[in-house]
Symmetry: C2
Subunit: 427 residues, 2 copies
């Protein structure tokens, strides 16, 4: 029986694009036999025809520097966008969708910012829009939400969804090193970008949790509603104290739905060592999902990289061509009625430097009490040479604003030299 022929165009031929090419050409026969579809890469948009990766292709005529060549090729039915960045990616995706071509993308930034517009265009032209690779690289987190949790209300998601920051925090923790030192090394090795802001300050995780939360809660969760805090202020001292409390520090992206209120946040977080997320090391990613029926599910794997991300996109391409009707999961969800919680509850960790005098602890505890923040435990560290001591507190569950107000008042106490670290704790 003749297999269905699917001709793909790639936008971008960097790490991910060349990975798709390798899988599609290297596994063409296996995929055709198992999936009844014969894939081929018919066009590749590159910046320059002599880009280094272009050498891997036998047929050099597939390369073009002109997007119009791709769009005009009537044999191309699927466009895989793996350029990254907002523009021109968004413009190209929109043009492809408007022309009725199915789009598969790994572009979390474009997706988080322009999902609605893209979905409307896709729906209008009947094109498909697939985005498994926008979150978690090769980890099937989007598919799990759309294909395996339909009989659930998702109550929470907690994810390690940025590999660079997890690599840095793991090295800080296991090698007792400081952030700046590990970051420099990661940049030298190519694990972190020259400008690391998008990873280190949590923008990348913010895009991804906005996508996950939207899908999980069946409504639009715009990036503007995601609280975001990066890892650049985490110290090796914080990591050491966290371990004394039986915890690791991870950059978590968190989304919760509680009594109709949505909270979405990205910040460094203390997690008990027994929690499966605490064991996720190096550049691995993991997403922990709680559904009202399925209970806890965790998905773990390579959150980035050429072949893992390409693997997710090839899956999307195959699903897109499998003959079912395309779905537009949030087409009618405007999110106008959403209520977002910005005064969420969690436990807190705080580390401060104080004068080593009698009565200081009592005074600080008094301020916490005044703001309804109750303390779960305290560690007092040996005084420094210059008559200062370190106090580390863990609170019981408190409200964000009450804790913030308490800290502000504590920072003003004459006995307190500095509040050096503060973190939220999740279980």
């Amino acid at each position: 029986m003749a297999k269905k022929q699917v001709r793909i165009a790639l936008l971008g031929f960097g790490t991910v694009g060349s990975g798709i090419y390798r899988i599609v050409t290297g596994m063409r026969d296996e995929i055709a036999r198992r999936e009844d579809v014969e894939l081929s890469v018919a066009r590749v948009l590159v910046k320059a025809l002599d880009e280094p990766n272009t050498k891997i292709a036998e047929d050099q005529s597939i390369f073009t520097t002109n997007f119009e060549d791709v769009l005009a090729d009537e044999e191309v039915s699927v466009i895989a966008e793996c350029m990254g960045g907002e523009e021109p990616a968004r413009t190209f995706i929109m043009a492809a969708l408007n022309a009725g071509k199915t789009v598969v993308t790994s572009n979390k930034e474009v997706f988080a910012k322009h999902w609605k517009q893209m979905e409307e265009a896709a729906h209008l032209s009947g094109a498909g829009l697939y985005f498994e690779a926008t979150v978690g690289g090769g980890i099937p987190v989007i598919r799990t939400l759309t294909h395996s949790m339909q009989g659930n209300n998702v109550e929470s998601i907690m994810g390690i969804i940025n590999g660079t920051t997890n690599y840095i925090l793991t090295a800080m923790s296991e090698e007792g090193r400081e952030f700046a030192d590990v970051l420099r090394e990661a940049q030298a090795k190519g694990y972190a970008e020259f400008d690391p802001t998008a990873d280190v300050e949590g923008f990348d995780a913010m895009y991804k949790i906005s996508i996950l939360a939207s899908l999980a809660f069946n409504t639009r969760v715009p990036i503007e509603r995601v609280y975001r805090e990066g890892i650049s202020k985490v110290t090796k001292q914080d990591i050491g104290y966290a371990r004394e409390f039986g915890c690791a520090i991870k950059l978590l992206a968190i989304a919760k739905m509680k009594e109709g209120r949505i909270e979405v946040r990205v910040h460094p977080t203390m997690v008990p060592l027994e929690h499966p997320l605490a064991a996720v090391r190096g550049s691995f990613n993991a997403v922990f999902i709680h559904g009202n029926n399925v209970d806890d599910v965790m998905l773990y794997g390579r959150g980035a990289g050429s072949l893992p991300t390409a693997s997710a996109m090839v899956s999307d391409i195959i699903i897109a061509c499998s003959g079912h009707e395309h779905r537009y999961p949030l087409l009618d969800a405007n999110g106008d009625g959403n209520t977002f919680e910005d005064d969420w509850e969690s436990e807190f960790y705080v580390h401060m430097k104080v004068l080593d005098k009698p009565g200081v602890l009592a005074r600080i505890a008094g301020v916490f009490g005044k703001h309804q923040v109750s303390l779960a435990s305290v560690i007092q560290k040996e005084p420094d040479s210059n008559d200062t001591a370190h106090l580390v507190f863990i609170t019981h569950k408190s409200r964000e604003k009450a804790f913030g107000a308490a800290i502000e008042e504590i920072e003003g106490l004459p006995e307190v030299s500095a509040v050096l670290g503060r973190l939220r704790v999740e279980h």
Copy 2:
């Protein structure tokens, strides 16, 4: 727009069947809104009309003790089988498929034994056959293999896919207790069956790994080719020694494809504590999959239980009704040309009681050497009061048969009182 109406019949109304009922009735509106399909439970086959669970249903007329009533109901398009056991489940499933009704099942035994026959019947009548719930309860492991790894050759699967044995091994490890003691308690609490053989001796895991391996390697891996060994011989001493080597003991179901040869086995296994599987506690399940492109993926969650398993079956029902063509992944795979490896390679742990005399260690090491089994490390324990000592060895990678032959010869040595424990080690 009118939603698609899907009327479901349940075969069995125990833990899982009643879970499906709860989800379908409790989440009817959410599912209809999100998935464009309105589910209802139209018929339920029970053993007796006064079974305790029947009380949860408003409409008692849905219950019947006669399978023919279910089969004859033309409005029922999907039959969810959750009776367990081989018969009459197999007969009912076959009758349903022959009648063109789509079957969703959690029955690993029927599926592992009769997949081919069921798939052929389904294909012939155009019915669907869905089985996410046969392995890993609410964990989306089947869907990950079919919908998220199409661009991969799966090279290995290692899974903790039986909750009862993982519960027992966790309690033995964390509370320093013996197998029989923990099993009795688990039975009393209802975590283990009155006849625990299917779980404890690895039959349940054997069915499941046969299903996973067949799907992963795109061929038939019959249960007869699965090596099977249960956990009833694991002692708390083994667990203690394993920890000295930095390992946990888990009942792993393992499937590997190496140079065209398939190995499939279920046995207690030492796993390094850093491995994500080592951290899977209690009755949780986890499956670790390695694909040539996606690299490592791990899926973790509730491997059993009413709502988690029902959640997987509800997903299957929704996917079955989503309007795509049903797939029959192994229809043409007879597995006639498969080569199975029964002399696989692994590292080994062995614990023996020996006479506390000079030269014993050298003599034992000599026997290992003669059989080409090289030793990685040895622990010698303080002699007992009665002049016997304990020796614990870890070997380098060896062949199963060579190791077996060495142990047989060692058991015959006059200095060796007994070989008390032997385990395979995986990384």
